[in-house]
């Protein structure tokens, strides 16, 4: 009846996951009770859960990422403590638990923190920057978000029901095959990634179509803000790379569920094929994450330097070059696995070449700052911190791209330090910069600068205190993923890294404090004009938060830095006054399709993990029925009457008049 599921699936003998699970459960129940008792449920349902507004969906993506960041961060803290204490002892985490933690940490941080964070920011900002009312497929957008949430839910379920994979974040076979991993851990891993992968693909298709087909009048390709370009590149990579992940995991699942022989040791299966396939997805994935961050830094550096981005066209070229070359370097992830010197040399050189467009970007940002009137607001701090940190990570990356060096350093803590250096220093700093920069746009008030700066400095210093020791430990020969060790020389560095982790944690606490303090002082921090940073692109041309239709009129774009242009012209010619007649606006109706679909996907995923076949069929039928019902509806749009549009728009125009007279002077 319930497949492999019985009471032994609940880890009663392991206090850590059980207590963690209980705490999370109590927290969720507490929030739910509060929502229901306070009567917020109808609001939550109609304004958020069923919303197809790209801004709301973007906010929900970022919320999901933030919650999962705490989960993945807890895993990190546990690992750092374990390695600090497990010198010539077992530490406090048994090996099978430790293995689950490092696997979950990687999986969560990449798929459920970094991905939703950048996709959330793209969702929130790109339609605004393009000057349009929504993304290309609003309802699909909601489906994509909720499928991502389903994946996150399944990963967290594995904490208390069953186990998570012990195979590392990419589940290499043959270890991940049924004969070596008979439990449900790998199945939790694979199904949660399959489901959230569909969500990511949907988001990718949606954003590519949005950038290529939905741009306001005059928004030629070479007038798009840099963030739109990097969004385009990143989502092209999603469309091209995520199907590879889907196919690869499908093969692994076929091996595990139906006795196929893709990657087994027997009957001619080929393990190296998994390595090639997974990294053919995995390397572009790195750029899927970091390209949007590059876009955010471009926007931030340009805005806070008060200058147009230096070398805009070279930046576009560099972005697209990275987009293409990122597909030609995957083999550097397994130089040591016997491809031979010629192949290794080619991929080594390709990996070094990709540093060239990245270097172009760094110089462009530096030259943008050069001669500018720089304001060191929190987003700018993250951007400058990124440049310093990312260059170090990039250099160690080029070092690892040299095959002979890689033979010495692969699979060591040096590698761990390297990819944390680029992912934290690149993606996470970028996400935080974007969060600080666009928060006022999303919610209508700025974030507290004092706590923001504290958060930056603690995170920045904490990062170096944590990861420089890992570089050194790697040089001293320490391999990654060690549950305990006996080498005295490594010990001090592990202790320093644990201290660094504490500093990083203070950074995270500062960030939470920043949010609390800012919400409390929101009246004082209110952004009335919609342009708190003296911005340059179109998202600042509408109010904060923007009305549901974003713009009363789709703006007319006449050059790069569209909004900056408008401000200058408004000052010279008072264009703001002659507005044409307001018109009715049609907007897509809210739809529970995404939520209902994700509900059935959750049921189906859970049933597949535990081999509950009747429930699988039920879930599948439910998902299909949801789509048919969605396809059957007769009214998918509603009309906002012109008077309402006019009323909303006029309020913002009044606030903006005062600004226009002051800003825009170069």
């Amino acid at each position: 009846m319930l497949g492999k599921l019985d009471w032994s699936a609940i880890p009663f003998d392991q206090p850590i996951p059980l207590v963690a699970g209980a705490v999370v459960l109590v927290a969720i129940l507490g929030v739910l009770t509060w929502v229901v008792v306070k009567g917020h449920l109808p609001y939550l349902w109609s304004e958020w859960i069923t919303s197809v507004d790209h801004k709301r969906i973007g906010v929900m993506y970022i919320l999901l990422a933030s919650v999962m960041l705490l989960r993945g961060g807890s895993d990190a803290i546990m690992m750092r403590i374990q390695q600090a204490v497990a010198y010539q002892s077992q530490g406090y985490l048994p090996p099978e638990h430790y293995n689950q933690i490092f696997s979950a940490h990687g999986t969560i941080m990449i798929f459920f923190v970094a991905m939703p964070f950048v996709i959330g920011l793209m969702n929130l900002i790109v339609p605004l920057q393009l000057g349009v009312r929504d993304v290309a497929f609003p309802t699909l957008n909601s489906v994509g978000f909720w499928l991502t949430a389903t994946g996150a839910l399944l990963v967290n379920l594995s904490l208390v029901i069953g186990e998570f994979a012990r195979t590392g974040w990419l589940a290499f076979p043959p270890l991940s095959e049924l004969s070596y991993s008979p439990g449900v851990g790998v199945d939790y891993y694979a199904w949660s990634l399959q489901i959230s992968g569909v969500g990511t693909l949907v988001a990718g298709i949606n954003l590519v179509t949005t950038v290529l087909k939905l741009r306001t009048r005059g928004m030629n390709y070479l007038r798009m803000p840099m963030f739109c370009w990097t969004t385009l590149a990143s989502n092209l990579l999603i469309v091209a790379a995520f199907p590879i992940l889907t196919a690869t995991l499908a093969m692994l699942l076929l091996d595990r569920y139906l006795g196929f022989h893709f990657f087994t040791n027997e009957a001619g299966g080929n393990v190296m094929m998994f390595m090639n396939l997974i990294w053919a997805w995995g390397h572009p994935e790195v750029y899927i994450l970091v390209l949007p961050a590059f876009g955010i830094f471009s926007e931030v550096v340009s805005t806070f330097s008060g200058k147009a981005l230096f070398g805009y066209r070279s930046m576009v070229l560099a972005t697209m070059a990275i987009c293409v070359i990122s597909f030609m370097v995957w083999l550097h992830h397994f130089f040591t696995m016997g491809a031979g010197p010629d192949v290794n040399a080619i991929f080594g050189i390709a990996s070094m070449i990709i540093a060239v467009p990245t270097g172009v970007k760094i110089y462009n940002w530096l030259f943008t700052m050069y001669g500018g009137r720089i304001r060191f607001a929190t987003p700018m701090l993250w951007a400058v911190g990124f440049m310093v940190t990312f260059i170090i990570g990039g250099l160690t990356g080029v070092l690892l791209a040299v095959p002979p060096a890689d033979f010495m350093l692969h699979n060591s803590m040096f590698l761990v330090a390297h990819f944390h250096n680029v992912i934290i220093g690149g993606v996470l700093f970028g996400a935080f910069a974007g969060f600080e920069y666009w928060f006022p746009k999303a919610f209508g008030f700025r974030l507290d600068e004092r706590w923001g700066k504290l958060a930056f400095w603690f995170t920045f210093l904490g990062f170096f205190i944590t990861f420089i020791p890992l570089y050194i430990a790697g040089m001293l020969g320490m391999t990654r993923r060690m549950q305990h060790y006996d080498v005295a020389a490594w010990r001090p560095w592990m202790i320093v890294a644990a201290i660094g982790m504490a500093v990083l944690t203070i950074g995270v606490i500062c960030q939470i404090m920043q949010l609390v303090v800012s919400i409390r002082n929101r009246e004082a921090l209110r952004d009335r004009t919609g342009d708190p940073w003296d911005g340059r692109s179109l998202e600042w041309a509408t109010s904060s938060p923007p009305p549901v239709f974003n713009f009363a009129f789709n703006p007319d774009v006449r050059g790069e830095d569209a909004y900056w242009d408008m401000k200058i012209h408004a000052q010279q010619q008072s264009l703001e006054r002659d507005r044409p007649e307001y018109q009715d606006i049609e907007m897509p109706r809210n739809s529970p399709t995404g939520f209902v679909c994700a509900f059935f996907a959750t049921v189906m995923g859970f049933a597949l993990i535990w081999h509950i076949w009747w429930m699988v069929i039920l879930g599948g039928l439910g998902a299909f029925a949801t789509f048919v019902v969605f396809a059957w509806r007769d009214h998918d749009e509603y009309v906002i009457p012109a008077e309402e549009v006019a009323a909303i728009d006029r309020i913002n125009l009044e606030e903006r008049r005062s600004l226009v007279s002051m800003a825009g002077t170069v």
């Binding site: 349009v132 290309a136 497929f137 693909l201 990718g204 298709i205 949606n206 590519v208 179509t209 290529l212 087909k213 939905l214 741009r215 306001t216 009048r217 005059g218 928004m219 030629n220 390709y221 007038r223 469309v239 091209a240 790379a241 995520f242 199907p243 590879i244 889907t246 196919a247 690869t248 499908a250 093969m251 076929l254 139906l258 006795g259 196929f260 022989h261 893709f262 087994t264 027997e266 009957a267 001619g268 299966g269 080929n270 094929m273 396939l277 789709n554 774009v557 006449r558 050059g559 299909f624 048919v628 396809a631 059957w632 007769d634 998918d636």
Partner: protein, 213 residues
């Protein structure tokens, strides 16, 4: 389409390339929908390419089991191919009928497409069932694993297509040729033709090359 020539906006063209064609604004829903679906199809073809690659890698790994030339029946494959290619034609007829809003020819075209699709699926299912009965199921060897996955993945797509086809007929029956129904019909036709293209790949790489070897 306007050109940037107004003196007031000369700075819009800093490199003086001149005659920049202004982007006319957001595309129509029909174009956006079809464009998005094209992108989806491209991603689907990337997924198929992984299974093709796996087949190329594993096709020699028979582990003592049968080779391709020992199990492929060219007559069946020929019938399957004819069915699918014909169904692409009838699907095209149904699309034209939908565009001119002719219900009779639409239903006829879709029905024939559906029947041809089902014939294809039945032949494929019987081929699979026969192989499994002879002990040549997907777990026999890596070659058979790759064969069943690649051909089966295409078969699953065709099955989903048949389900979609029936839903489209029901939609036209219930809603008529509404704009959104027509957009979906366009996506369905793209999907069906794409499956045909993938089948041409399967036919050549698996059956033709396999029979020769």
């Amino acid at each position: 389409m306007a050109m940037t020539a107004t003196a007031g906006h000369a700075h819009a063209d800093p490199h003086h390339i001149g005659l920049v064609i202004e982007h006319p604004g957001p595309a129509s829903k029909r174009i956006v929908t079809a464009y998005g679906f094209w992108i989806f199809l491209l991603s689907d073809i990337v997924m198929f390419s992984c299974f093709f690659a796996a087949y190329a890698v594993l096709s020699g790994q028979t582990a003592g089991g049968p080779k391709g030339s020992e199990i492929f029946e060219q007559r069946n494959v020929a019938i399957e191919t004819v069915c699918l290619l014909l169904s692409s034609f009838t699907c095209g007829m149904a699309s034209i009928a939908a565009d001119v809003r002719n219900r009779f020819w639409f239903y006829l075209g879709m029905t024939v497409t559906c029947v041809l699709g089902l014939i294809f699926l039945v032949i494929e299912f019987r081929e699979f069932a026969d192989l499994v009965a002879r002990g040549y199921g997907p777990s026999r060897s890596a070659f058979l694993t790759a064969f069943f996955s690649l051909v089966g993945c295409h078969g699953l797509h065709v099955s989903a297509g048949v389900l979609w086809l029936l839903t489209m007929m029901a939609q036209v029956f219930a809603k008529g040729f509404r704009a959104d129904v027509l957009r979906r019909m366009m996506c369905f036709a793209l999907f069906w033709h794409a499956l045909d293209i993938v089948w041409v790949g399967v036919f050549s790489v698996v059956y033709l090359l396999g029979s020769a070897a």
